[in-house]
């Protein structure tokens, strides 16, 4: 979500020039932590997919509602229906996989296309793309989602289409900024002089070599956003619906008991969200520091 008008192309460069550039070691730590989170998420997918779980995440225990952590073999306790929270946390990440992927694919594909168009062909095309970006940016995302929910129906896929589309401007301006930056460095001209066709320059040299890191970062950020948006919508009652667990609906359901001093049912998923999003953001930051730093040279 790095995008502030068209300054972004210079981010990498400026970090390079800056005498106060942060230590590379820190970037490595960030990436390390981010990768750890990614690995944990992947492990959760696998565990969930093979249902290697401590308990059946949908098994209800009416006699064991909101049990505290550690009771009766439930490491993180049980929720308002006596279901095992740890198992639901592990399975809960699945709720984001396909919908999140949908949002990411939409924003990356559309964003890259528009960004490349705008960056490579200035003039009217760029104006149009900028108009589109500004148009999408005019909507507060949550209000747009509420509008779509009212018009169609609550459903995680509808919501993720909106998340994807609203993510387009960020990607588009990143790509456009990058291309402009390369153009300023006479990179594209040089490629033309070498007799490479535009298509090859654009796809292979510009997008593949120079924009890939940006896109990877955007993808991780997109995943994080999908989780946060779903959590907000769960609170409003429009998120992933029971009995399917999602971290968002777990926080929401657990928070109903918060004021009665039962913190664990909402805190466990809230911290999962926290550490995961943090991981994604730091991964993005670290990668940015490492990859952009070298790519800019």
């Amino acid at each position: 979500m790095k995008r502030y008008s068209q300054t972004t192309g210079e981010v990498g460069e400026s970090s390079d020039l800056s005498p106060w550039k942060t230590a590379d070691a820190l970037d490595l730590v960030y990436v390390g932590y981010g990768l750890l989170i990614v690995v944990l998420v992947l492990v959760s997918y696998v565990l969930g997919a093979f249902t290697w779980l401590p308990y059946d995440p949908e098994q209800i225990r009416v006699d064991l509602l909101n049990a505290p952590p550690g009771s009766a073999g439930h490491l993180l306790g049980t929720d308002f229906l006596g279901r095992d929270i740890l198992s639901r946390l592990i399975v809960g990440i699945q709720a984001y996989f396909l919908p999140g992927l949908l949002a990411i694919v939409i924003s990356l594909l559309l964003g890259t296309t528009l960004g490349a168009l705008a960056g490579y062909r200035s003039g009217e095309v760029e104006t149009l793309v900028t108009y589109f970006n500004n148009l999408v940016d005019s909507f507060p995302r949550l209000v747009l989602i509420l509008l779509v929910i009212a018009a169609f129906k609550p459903g995680i896929y509808y919501i993720m289409v909106v998340v994807g589309v609203t993510g387009v401007p960020a990607v588009a301006s990143l790509i456009a900024g990058k291309i402009e930056f390369l153009a300023q460095k006479n990179f594209i001209e040089a490629a033309h002089v070498l007799g490479l066709p535009s298509r090859v320059i654009l796809l292979k040299h510009i997008l593949w070599h120079h924009c890939m890191p940006l896109l990877v970062i955007q993808a991780t950020i997109g995943m994080g956003e999908a989780i946060l948006i779903e959590t907000s919508l769960s609170y409003l009652g429009f998120g992933v619906q029971e009995p399917t667990p999602s971290w968002g609906n777990m926080v929401q359901a657990g928070a109903n008991y918060f004021f009665q001093g039962k913190f664990w049912p909402s805190t466990a998923p809230a911290l999962s969200i926290l550490f995961t999003i943090l991981g994604f953001h730091l991964l993005g930051d670290g990668l940015n520091g490492i990859l952009e730093g070298s790519a800019g040279k």
């Binding site: 790095k2 995008r3 502030y4 068209q6 300054t7 210079e10 981010v11 400026s14 970090s15 020039l17 800056s18 005498p19 106060w20 550039k21 942060t22 820190l26 200035s122 760029e126 104006t127 900028t130 108009y131 970006n133 500004n134 148009l135 940016d137 005019s138 909507f139 507060p140 995302r141 949550l142 209000v143 747009l144 509420l146 509008l147 779509v148 929910i149 009212a150 018009a151 169609f152 994080g224 946060l228 959590t231 907000s232 609170y235 409003l236 009652g237 926080v251 929401q252 928070a255 004021f259 909402s266 809230a270 969200i273 926290l274 550490f275 995961t276 999003i277 943090l278 953001h281 730091l282």
Partner: protein, 328 residues
């Protein structure tokens, strides 16, 4: 579209206004298309509790003056919008514009306040780390900013309410209720703090400001000037802080407005966010269309202001770097 290098502020303003108007027409069209494509019948809310036959519904449609073809519908709706007529709420029968107007101010209060909070947190961290480099202290603070940005905002709200109740024995509700007792008025600011901290933008504001500041401080002539002992703060403040700040605020308005939907819900804040939620539940189309339009107007207004500030502090602004987003 290329304009002269020096532009009087009125000219910039006029052009930006025209752009904003054009964008708002686009917004209205998007809103209309979404609702036009929607299945189902917005009038069914009205009929709830009295499920009648379809002939009666069709009669109702005519009675309410709903035209048939899509472009006639759109144009008549747009025409009415321009006159400030946003229609009447299906649920309450009240004029939408008046309904939104009476709550818009409290949403504005909430969002502007929380923006201020975000900046009060982010600017010192960013300044410190761009001037001093990475120290243990500002690294810790930056991490803290990241952490709060990753928390679900409603959960943060619950934690805040819980802490206030049990630590201070005070119930922080809306400004009105809290203000009824003098002892409690400071706690009416709680929702503003929660949104300011938990709107998910603190980390980005820190990052953006730090990078911009570092970039400006790293520019050759500044380094030279610093070496000579000249004061560079004026320039650094303008280029490195003021402009990036207005930029980031303008671009984050939509996020903060979105966060307001949640915070208003938790803290019973009577604003547009709660209204939007209620309207989404009731499929009260006129209301939610109106809110989308007003919210978009606020967003455009924000970026308009950003441009004005930019041109004002930097009269020789050319389009080369941050130029009007699409003027090239």
């Amino acid at each position: 579209m290329k304009l002269a290098a020096t532009k009087p502020i009125t000219l910039v303003l006029a052009r930006e206004l025209a752009l904003a108007a054009l964008l708002l027409v686009g917004v209205s069209f998007v809103v209309f298309v979404i609702l036009y494509l929607s299945p189902g019948d917005p009038f069914s809310v009205l009929l709830e509790g009295q499920i009648s036959n379809h002939a009666a519904r069709a009669g109702l449609r005519e009675a309410l003056g709903v035209p048939r073809t899509w472009y006639v519908q759109y144009l008549s709706w747009l025409g009415n919008l321009l006159q400030g007529n946003f229609g009447t709420s299906i649920r309450t029968g009240l004029p939408v514009f008046g309904e939104i107007a009476r709550v818009a101010l409290s949403t504005l209060y909430l969002t502007l306040g929380s923006m201020l909070v975000t900046l009060l947190i982010a600017v010192p961290i960013a300044l410190h780390s761009s001037v001093r480099g990475t120290t243990a202290l500002n690294w810790l603070l930056t991490m803290l900013a990241y952490v709060v940005s990753a928390l679900p905002v409603f959960w943060l709200g619950y934690v805040a309410v819980y802490v206030f109740i049990h630590q201070f024995g005070v119930f922080p509700l809306t400004a009105r209720i809290a203000a009824s007792s003098e002892r409690t008025w400071p706690f009416s600011l709680l929702p503003i703090f929660v949104l300011g901290i938990g709107n998910g933008t603190v980390s980005e504001v820190v990052r953006h400001l730090r990078e911009e500041m570092s970039r400006v401080m790293g520019e050759d002539y500044i380094r030279t000037a610093r070496a000579k002992g000249a004061s560079v703060w004026r320039h650094a403040f303008k280029e490195g802080l003021l402009i990036p700040m207005t930029e980031i605020i303008a671009s984050k308005i939509p996020f903060i407005l979105g966060g307001a939907v949640i915070v208003e819900q938790v803290f019973n804040w009577p604003g547009m966010g709660r209204m939007a939620w209620q309207a989404a539940q009731d499929r009260d189309f006129p209301v939610i269309m109106g809110i989308a339009m007003i919210a978009a107007t606020l967003v455009r207004l924000g970026s308009l202001l950003q441009r004005v500030v930019y041109v004002a502090v930097n009269p020789r602004a050319s389009n080369e770097r941050r130029g009007a987003a699409w003027a090239e």
